[in-house]
């Protein structure tokens, strides 16, 4: 097989995975924005929406709350997709994307949303956007530097895929962003905080991860379903990572 065709085929499978993930995520994002718009323009509090969901058919309620929880992933996945697909050939889009995901710009967006809506949950969810997008951005920057030969070099040493992923992605992340502990920490915090909303009651008050409340959560089908969906999405992201690992530009002689 000619080298170009070989490369195109592997590239195609990776792009297909990303495309499916991004399409799925885009639907989630739109759903999230609809809920948000409903809340902002009709001045109905989000907790009220969540409460009202209990009166909806159970499946629909589960879907809606799952969408709400999973929406931030969509931002990250869409960002990864757009970056991968367009930025190599179009530096303008790359510059625009890089500008949009600058932390101050994102923080101003979050502040605007918070002032406009007055809801803590929106602020937390938006913070999640920031964490997910910034970490995705760094992941892309790291993964673009990894040569397929390096992956093969490690495979040839008899290292497992998990070890290779750790060595090439995590260790390289620390090598590259070693001096950025504070920002990494903040992004991770931003990534985790929205999950607190799962541990909040209907008044929006937080119950900090007590065991008693954890059992209460486990009884709540909607919140459990939301968590399950988050894990499914994490699995999808892992699938994207796997397709990246399979991306070889090796020329067979």
């Amino acid at each position: 097989m000619p080298r170009r065709e070989f490369r195109n085929r592997t590239n195609h499978s990776m792009m297909l995975s990303l495309y499916l993930l991004a399409s799925f995520s885009f639907i989630l994002l739109v759903s999230y924005l609809l809920v948000l718009a409903f809340h902002i323009f009709y001045n109905i509090s989000l907790s009220q929406i969540l409460q009202d969901m209990t009166y909806l058919p159970e499946t629909l309620g589960l879907v809606l709350i799952s969408l709400l929880t999973a929406a931030p992933f969509s931002g990250a996945a869409t960002y990864i997709f757009i970056s991968r697909k367009h930025t190599r050939s179009n530096p303008g889009i790359r510059r625009l994307l890089n500008w949009l995901v600058r932390t101050p710009v994102l923080l101003i967006g979050v502040g605007f949303l918070y002032v406009f809506s007055g809801q803590k949950i929106i602020m937390f969810t938006s913070l999640f956007f920031i964490g997910a997008i910034k970490l995705s951005q760094r992941w892309i920057q790291i993964s673009e530097k990894i040569r397929s030969l390096e992956i093969e070099g490690m495979q040839a040493m008899g290292l497992s895929r998990a070890v290779i992923a750790y060595q090439l992605f995590i260790r390289r992340y620390y090598k590259t962003y070693g001096g950025h502990f504070v920002s990494t920490f903040l992004y991770l915090v931003a990534l985790v905080t929205p999950f607190l909303f799962l541990f909040s009651d209907s008044d929006g008050d937080f119950h900090y991860l007590s065991l008693e409340f954890f059992f209460h959560i486990a009884k709540d089908q909607q919140k459990t379903a939301s968590l399950a969906l988050v894990f499914v999405l994490l699995h999808l992201l892992r699938a994207v990572l796997d397709s990246q690992m399979n991306y070889h530009e090796v020329e067979y002689g």
């Binding site: 495979q155 290292l159 260790r171 002689g253």
Partner: protein, 253 residues
């Protein structure tokens, strides 16, 4: 006559619907150098990648046939893939150094993660490997530096040192001298001779002269088909097949 340590039987390799290797039958003798020659795209690298099963890593690739080593079929699904790759150390045409690791870490990585050595023994093993490849005097003061500063030849020697640390049972070398200078080429050829006193070396090369110079046995591949295999002197002086004769006399390739 040297004992045959590895027996390749009816090996076929497919990349999607394209057949890359066609019923290859080949024996590898212990403590001998086997060179595989052939024009570009004849399947030399694929053959090596089939032995350590790197070829199967890419989606759409598949291998059929048998490769017997120490009474076990390497292509069996029960064979421990990671152990297989540790035992069949592979060096690639392009040096696969890891840019985020120091020279010392590059060499020690496989040994440390595969738990071949630990603690102070790692340092000793790295020193021994560097002495063997002739880099110790040049690099002993710079082991904490990153490999980006090294020349292509030095990088390739670092990769060979890394493979030596894995204590391989068979060494697979895929056109290892194609991107290095004359001096390092001669150095690597000398190393191959030294390695063959301990374990068999299978190396691919596009240089007929190099194969004639250093190998004990030579196999000629053309379009995935093994045309001829035999003692190097016999193959070059009295080829049985006209295609072999045409290739070694430079009528094509």
């Amino acid at each position: 006559m040297a004992k045959t340590i590895m027996d390749i039987k009816d090996l076929e390799a497919w990349s999607d619907s394209r057949k890359i290797l066609d019923r290859v039958n080949l024996g590898v003798e212990n403590k001998k150098i086997l060179s595989i020659i052939g024009p570009r795209g004849s399947g030399k690298s694929t053959l090596l990648r089939c032995i350590n099963r790197l070829f199967e890593e890419r989606q759409g690739n598949r291998v059929e046939g048998e490769i017997w080593f120490n009474g076990k079929n390497l292509l069996s699904s029960h064979y421990n893939l990671l152990k297989l790759r540790r035992n069949f150390s592979m060096i690639f045409a392009e040096p696969t150094t890891f840019s985020h690791l120091s020279i010392f870490e590059n060499i020690a990585l496989g040994m440390r993660l595969n738990r071949i050595e630990s603690g102070a023994h790692i340092g000793e093993a790295v020193e021994k490997a560097l002495i063997q490849v002739g880099l110790w005097d040049d690099l002993r003061q710079n082991l904490n530096r990153y490999p980006q500063r090294l020349s292509a030849g030095e990088k390739q020697l670092v990769c060979i040192a890394r493979s030596l640390c894995l204590k391989p049972k068979v060494m697979l070398m895929d056109e290892v001298t194609s991107r290095v200078g004359l001096q390092v080429t001669l150095q690597i050829e000398q190393l191959i001779r030294e390695f063959s006193e301990k374990f068999p070396v299978i190396f691919t090369t596009s240089s007929r002269k190099q194969a004639a110079r250093i190998s004990d046995r030579t196999a000629f591949l053309l379009d995935g088909e093994l045309i001829e295999v035999g003692k190097t002197s016999d193959l070059f002086m009295n080829p049985k097949d006209t295609r072999t004769e045409d290739y070694i006399t430079g009528r094509f390739g």
